[in-house]
């Protein structure tokens, strides 16, 4: 009678060697822990070892959106500094909006209507224009008080 492994055309070595598997796993874990989670070369290298279906899933996961807190904290462009330019998402002139809410991405300074960019960033984390990561893990320390102040002046002045 043939053995299980002969019937299934597998080698008993790869199937039932918990010792070896544990070693491999711990080696992978060590490697993984040495990685900076944002190191794109290593991550793509690891991803290339995956079968294509999984790669796609992996790609989706690494492409997760930004937090609402991050989106809310994006610096507003003060009304008098809003450029005479089109939003790259809706192709409307920023200034044609009676109450424009324009933000600037902290990393690359590209400007968008808040309404447009917030939809994109809720499921993505790249700038639509330059594709740079918008760096949503970094703590923002940008002074928005000026913009708010000016708005207040407009309202009560």
């Amino acid at each position: 009678m043939s053995s299980y492994h002969e019937e299934h055309n597998t080698s008993p070595h790869t199937q039932s060697n918990p010792q070896g598997r544990r070693e491999i796993r711990s080696e992978f874990r060590n490697l993984y822990e040495q990685l900076t989670p944002t190191d794109p070369t290593l991550i793509s290298l690891l991803a290339s070892l995956l079968p294509p279906e999984l790669q796609e899933e992996w790609g989706k996961k690494s492409n997760e959106g930004c937090s609402q807190a991050f989106i809310d904290s994006l610096p507003r462009v003060p009304k008098d500094k809003i450029p005479n330019d089109l939003c790259s998402i809706c192709f409307e002139n920023f200034r044609e909006d009676e109450y424009p809410l324009v933000i600037e991405l902290p990393h690359c300074s590209h400007k968008f209507d808040l309404q447009c960019i917030s939809v994109w960033l809720s499921s993505n984390s790249t700038c639509p224009v330059c594709r740079d990561k918008v760096n949503h893990n970094a703590k923002l320390d940008i002074d928005t008080t000026e913009a708010e102040l000016e708005e207040d002046w407009g309202m009560y002045g």
Binding site: N63, S88, I89, C90, F91, C116, V119, W120, P128
Partner: protein, 147 residues
């Protein structure tokens, strides 16, 4: 949000050479597209019909584009589906119908058999490029005729 009528208007008033895109009468999200085969490519002198559909989430989601004309190309499969990064993972809402169609035209000018969608065609393209290009030329003459 996205001013789709304006984009459509611009497509018609300021067309891209070799590319036409007309919205369907009953459904403004559905476009009938034609792309001329680029010069000095095996698709030269062919007119390729495509369909383009803007999903509800456009421009947050890429348009869906498909070849209706049969074409012999390593990145386009027999159902007309196109392997193009900007239509999948590299989509950006700053891209437009116009840029998408230009990219499709560029794909006709430079096929990439190393990132295939039609595996048999890609294999043929790598093993015997001249032969594959001849087949592509024959298919262009047969199927991509001017209407």
């Amino acid at each position: 949000m996205h001013n789709n009528p304006q984009e459509t208007e611009r497509l018609i008033s300021d067309p891209v050479p070799g590319i036409t895109a007309e919205p369907h009468d009953d459904n403004l999200r559905y476009f009938k597209v034609s792309i001329e085969g680029p010069e000095q490519s095996p698709y030269e002198k062919g007119i390729f019909q495509l369909e383009l559909y803007l999903p509800d989430d456009y421009p947050m989601e890429a348009p869906k584009v498909r070849f209706l004309t049969k074409i012999y190309h390593p990145n386009i499969d027999r159902l007309g589906r196109i392997c193009l990064d900007i239509l999948k993972t590299n989509w950006s809402p700053a891209l437009q119908i116009r840029t998408v169609l230009l990219s499709v035209q560029a794909l006709l000018a430079s096929p990439n058999p190393n990132d295939p969608l039609a595996n048999d065609v890609a294999e043929d393209w790598i093993k015997n490029e001249e032969g594959a290009k001849n087949t592509a030329r024959e298919w262009t003459l047969l199927y991509a005729k001017k209407e």
